[in-house]
Amino acid sequence: MEDQLLEHIIEKCKQGNRQAQTELYWRYCKGMYSVSLRILNNTAEAEDAMQEAFIAAFGQLNTFRGEVSFGSWLKRIVVNRSIDQLRKRKIKYDDLSKLANSQPKNEETNNYDTLKPEMVKKAIAKLKDNYRVILTLFLIEGYDHDEIAQILKISNGSSRIIYYRAKEQLKNELIVIKKKMEASIYG
């Protein structure tokens, strides 16, 4: 039922129907904005990238063949747009030179049961650009390292290494955030 309605909306969008485009936007804008925001870490840039991705998607709807879900198809466009925008910051994704000192120091506890989405978002936002992007694409958006390598034009190996470091960094950040929160509640 839901799929049929979506198909119908997509068909209308292909004909340039403004109402259908609006409907599609409202359905996906939050999810797509979140993807873009996680990558860009800047609300204005994220909104731009997300909206431009929608417009690009409307223009190339004929290439959507339904091999993947519409959401995944759209998300890939959003990811590419966001990465394009991020490139303007001249990030070197596979730059490993500054990683030597960032060894994990989270020997305290492996109990992450009390994690809340807001804490994770905050922690991700604290990561360096290349850490944040690769961790987001892998852990949150569910791309594998081959796909990430393709998207970022780096090697599969670099993607794995950076992801590993980013994950450890994220754990550290979460510990800091948790401590701060506990301090503000109990202190």
Binding site: Y33, S34, V35, E47, I55, V120, L139, K167
Partner: protein, 176 residues
């Protein structure tokens, strides 16, 4: 996949709930509108403009053959005139070929050579008439002038031929 990763993956839905700042839909609509205008501009104005530039460019860069091909001749006025034109051009061509052949046979008489070259100069009249016809394709005066031109040219070439033939006959006679 460690327990930490599992924890995050389970929370994925909770991480997809960010909302763009207030007024985002208005901004989106503005972008849509701008894009539509850009699209229309591309479709309506740019392509015909490019086509026009290309066509103009073609005229600019190959003007001579284009003009020559485009020039109106008597045959292009109507089917009847095409037949007239065909008849005269063939007849004249036939006569001039005979003239040239006989002239060569007789060892190139200077007087006849002069007549032939004058006949060729007469072609300038033809070119002028065609230009006139091009300017006024249905002007009967120009059409009549063109027919008269063909008739005259044919008559002249026939006269020349007669003269040559007379000459060659007399030459043969004296030789015998």
């Amino acid at each position: 996949m460690d327990s930490f990763e599992k924890q995050i993956i389970e929370m994925r839905n909770g991480l997809q709930t960010d909302e763009p700042d207030q007024g985002h839909f208005d901004r989106f609509e503005m972008k849509l509108e701008r894009n539509k205008q850009k699209f229309l501009f591309k479709r309506i104005y740019i392509w015909p403009a490019i086509a026009a530039i290309i066509v103009f460019g073609l005229f600019l860069f190959i003007p001579t053959p284009e003009n020559e091909q485009k020039q109106t001749t008597l045959g292009q006025v109507s089917e009847q005139y095409a037949q007239v034109e065909f008849y005269y051009t063939k007849a004249i061509q036939h006569e001039t070929e005979k003239i040239k052949a006989l002239n060569e046979q007789m060892g190139s008489d200077n007087a006849i050579q002069l007549l032939v070259s004058e006949l060729e100069e007469y072609d300038q009249v033809y070119e002028q008439l065609c230009t006139d016809l091009n300017a006024a394709p249905n002007d009967q005066r120009v059409i009549n002038a063109l027919i008269a031109y063909y008739q005259t040219k044919l008559e002249i070439s026939q006269k020349i031929l007669e003269n040559i033939q007379l000459k060659s006959n007399s030459n043969e006679n004296t030789e015998i």
